[in-house]
């Protein structure tokens, strides 16, 4: 069974209903490690070695984060800058990540329609994620399409329930998939 590392990156998780529900719906499994970056590093002093060790022990890396200004929260960017070192993640001998899966679980306030060619933002969500995709590729990782929960501002209790069921299935699938 593959091991999944969920890097949770949310500066104000306590205020995010959607993200909390997603987390609650995670299947109970010893193969899932939840790593809350804002809880771990409130002063932004990231322990790079520890992070790298953690990744080494997992095959699937999930970044769960809200979309801030068409990108990730600052601590995640810092995490990428520091942890994905030259010579470790990429470059000469930088093959520690090769073959691992990179998946982003993203919540957006705007709806799926807003993130479309003719919508308010004018581009697909995936298009905004190009830098992440390229990063994963450079690290020889398997970049999978993101799992999106969109329009969180409008989602009703029922909608949220549906989304979290979907998430649960998604993670279960990841756990089972590589099992074959």
């Amino acid at each position: 069974m593959p091991k999944i590392l969920i890097l949770l990156v949310h500066p104000t998780l306590e205020k995010s209903k959607a993200n909390q529900l997603l987390l609650d719906s995670l299947p109970v499994s010893e193969n899932i490690t939840l790593h809350d970056l804002y809880e771990e590093y409130p002063n932004f002093s990231i322990n790079v070695k520890a992070e790298q060790n953690l990744i080494t022990n997992h095959q699937i890396i999930i970044f769960q984060h809200p979309l801030y200004w068409y990108s990730c929260p600052p601590l995640m960017k810092l995490w990428m800058d520091l942890v994905l070192e030259d010579g470790w993640a990429y470059g000469t001998n930088g093959s520690h990540l090769s073959g691992k899966k990179w998946i982003q679980v993203i919540t957006t306030g705007g709806s799926k329609d807003a993130y479309s060619k003719h919508g308010f933002h004018g581009y697909e969500t995936e298009e905004f994620l190009l830098p992440f995709r390229r990063t994963a590729e450079l690290c020889q990782m398997d970049y999978l399409p993101p799992f999106l929960v969109q329009g969180t501002f409008q989602l009703t209790e029922l909608d949220l329930q549906k989304e979290s069921n979907r998430y649960s299935m998604f993670v279960n699938q990841l756990l089972g998939e590589s099992n074959e």
């Binding site: 104000t12 995010s16 804002y38 002063n43 306030g109 969180t152």
Partner: protein, 617 residues
């Protein structure tokens, strides 16, 4: 001498010093020359206020020289010696050897026997530490190349006095010590036993200094009474002098040794600043009595002879020094200064003349003239230097491109001094040291000082409110002074002292509470740290976390609180005199803060929205 006449003597000596020394200083001649002139003026040949006791007084005042050697011993840290080794041995050693040899040859040529010639050579090779160091310090030249060279040579000379004192008995023609001069306890012993006694006493001093003095000082220090500590410092010097005297060895040697033994101790600076005033006064007295006992008639009878000898010596010494300065690559302008500064004969010659008279090496006639010559050569030094500065130096200075003058010869003083090493200073010190910042620590708790010393801190015992102590700990080279004394009054005194005399040194100060912080701000301190503030808020942050607040949110709350507290501190400071307004503003600000915090924690309707909570729910 009865009591009244003692006070009259004191009155005369002190008055003359007070009148003449400032005048000499004004004229740029230095205080030593001032004392000498004052001595001549009150001496038997001008006003005759003081008469025949000049010589007795001289013996008493030699104690000033003894104290000076103690102070020099205290300065002698091993690493400093190590850094100066080339200059010390090369420059200092060669200077003594060459000068001694040349002088001795001249004397021999003038009809002296070779033993007295050698004695004279040794005496003349020494320069005056008191005059030169005083001059260099007064002119702020200690850090220049010439200053460093001069310091090295003087240091070597002062150390050389000790073997010279040991050699002199061997130069005695009579081989018989005049018993009237020496009342040593071990006179009657055979030679080898004498040597044995002397050795064991010296080793005894070293052992006592190393193992007994520190705990004793620690106990005295704990008594908290400064007078007792000063008394103990004096007692130490006097006791060593007497002990050494008792076994017929020079007191100067003994105290010098004592000083060296204590140089590595944490009490070094406190001892130094305790001895300092006595040393200064007694040295002054020493020069006064040299002046008073100068046989003016002898000089007047044969002025050409005296002047001939004086200029002969000065010329010879300066030449040797200049040659060595050249060999050791001193720049021309610095070398000339160095050569002229050390060209006189030093105060030890007076001691050595007395000694050699007792030993029968030199006859009284010679000594009377030479004492006068030495005094004149000393008196001429400031004049020569003044002339040099006014003429050649200024000319050379503009001609010679300035090289790097501050070589890394002198010990580097630490950029940070921490006063008070209690729980607060301690943390700070550890933090700075782990970041590679060298610090000097002053503390008034002997136990703590001892313990810190074991941890390898450069730490000294002493009351940091005393400016002399701070200065001997290297205040003038310090960039930052940390005031972390527990007692608010002491803290205030320290800050006032430093900011008044060294306005360029940045002061960072610890405050116990808000009121103390206000007091510090009123004194003009711009970097104030309330001792418990950060820790308490840090703890508050952790309590929030334990109550379930997310770490990053708690961190933000902490920062918000601290920022708000800073602002409020400055606002409230303006109002602290007006209690009513003060309380009102304080309450208002507190309410404001509470509201802000609640908003941030998401526990109230969001009046001021967190930007991130806007984006995502």
């Amino acid at each position: 001498m009865n009591e009244v006449s003692f006070f009259i003597q004191a009155l005369i000596y002190l008055t003359s010093a007070i009148i003449v020394v400032p005048i000499a200083n004004r004229l740029g001649l230095g205080s030593v020359l001032g004392y000498l002139i004052a001595g001549i003026v009150i001496g038997p040949f001008v006003f005759g206020f003081v008469g025949t006791e000049g010589k007795d007084m001289l013996h008493f005042a030699e104690f000033g020289v003894v104290m000076m050697l103690f102070a020099i011993g205290l300065e002698l840290e091993l690493d400093l010696l190590w850094k100066l080794k080339i200059w010390l041995l090369g420059l200092g050693g060669l200077q003594i050897i060459i000068t001694t040899a040349l002088t001795a040859m001249f004397c021999y040529g003038f009809g002296f026997l070779w033993k007295p010639s050698l004695a004279l050579g040794l005496i003349m090779s020494l320069s005056s530490t008191a005059i030169v160091l005083q001059t260099l310090k007064e002119k702020g030249l200690m850090k220049t190349l010439s200053g460093q060279a001069a310091f090295s040579v003087l240091l070597f000379q002062d150390m050389a006095v000790i073997p010279i004192l040991a050699i002199f008995p061997m130069l005695s023609e009579t081989n018989e010590v005049t018993s009237s001069q020496h009342h040593s306890l071990i006179e009657h012993l055979p030679g080898y036993a004498k040597t044995l006694v002397v050795f064991s006493v010296v080793i005894g001093i070293i052992l006592v200094g190393k193992y007994l003095l520190k705990p004793v000082f620690r106990i005295l220090a704990k008594s908290g009474s400064r007078e007792i500590f000063t008394g103990a410092s004096l007692l130490l010097v006097i006791a060593i002098s007497l002990l050494m005297g008792a076994i017929g060895v020079s007191a100067a040697l003994g105290t010098f040794l004592g000083g060296v033994v204590l140089a590595s101790s944490e009490f070094r600076h406190e001892l130094e600043s305790n001895i300092e005033p006595f040393k200064g006064l007694l040295l002054g007295l020493f020069f006064l009595s040299v002046g008073a006992s100068m046989e003016i008639p002898v000089v007047m009878e044969s002025p050409t002879k005296v002047l001939g000898i004086v200029f002969g010596i000065i010329f010879l010494k300066a030449l040797v020094l200049f040659f060595l300065g050249f060999v050791f690559r001193l720049p021309l302008d610095q070398n000339l200064y160095f050569s002229l500064a050390l060209s006189q004969v030093g105060e030890f010659s007076f001691v050595l003349f007395g000694y050699s008279e007792g030993l029968g090496i030199l006859d009284e006639q010679t000594i009377v003239i030479l004492v006068a010559c030495v005094a004149v050569s000393m008196a001429l030094t400031p004049v020569l230097l003044l002339l040099y500065e006014k003429t050649i130096f200024g000319f050379l200075e503009s001609k010679i491109p300035k090289k790097q003058t501050e070589q890394d010869i002198h010990k580097q003083e630490n950029p940070v001094i921490i006063c008070g090493f209690g729980r607060f200073g301690n943390m700070l010190g550890r933090f700075l040291r782990s970041n590679g910042v060298p610090i000097t620590i002053l503390d008034f708790d002997a136990d703590r000082v001892e313990m810190l010393g074991r941890f390898g801190f450069k730490v000294y015992f002493g009351d940091a409110t005393r400016l002399e102590l701070l200065e001997s700990a290297g205040l003038e080279h310090t960039k930052i002074l940390v005031a972390a004394l527990d007692n608010p009054e002491k803290q205030a005194e320290l800050i006032r002292n430093v900011s008044q005399h060294y306005p360029n040194i940045k002061i960072v100060a610890r405050a116990g509470d808000r009121e103390e912080a206000y007091d510090l701000k009123e004194m003009g301190v711009s970097f104030i740290y309330r001792e418990t503030r950060e820790t308490a808020v840090q703890m508050g942050k952790d309590v929030l976390k334990l109550l379930g607040t997310r770490a990053h949110t708690a961190e933000k709350a902490k920062n918000l609180f601290l920022k708000h507290d800073d602002e409020t501190f400055h606002e409230l400071f303006e109002l602290r005199q007006d209690r009513v307004q003060y309380m009102s503003l304080a309450k208002q600000r507190n309410a404001e803060l509470e509201r802000l915090m609640l908003v941030d924690l998401g526990k109230e309707d969001e009046l001021e929205r967190d930007p991130w909570s806007e984006m995502e729910r």
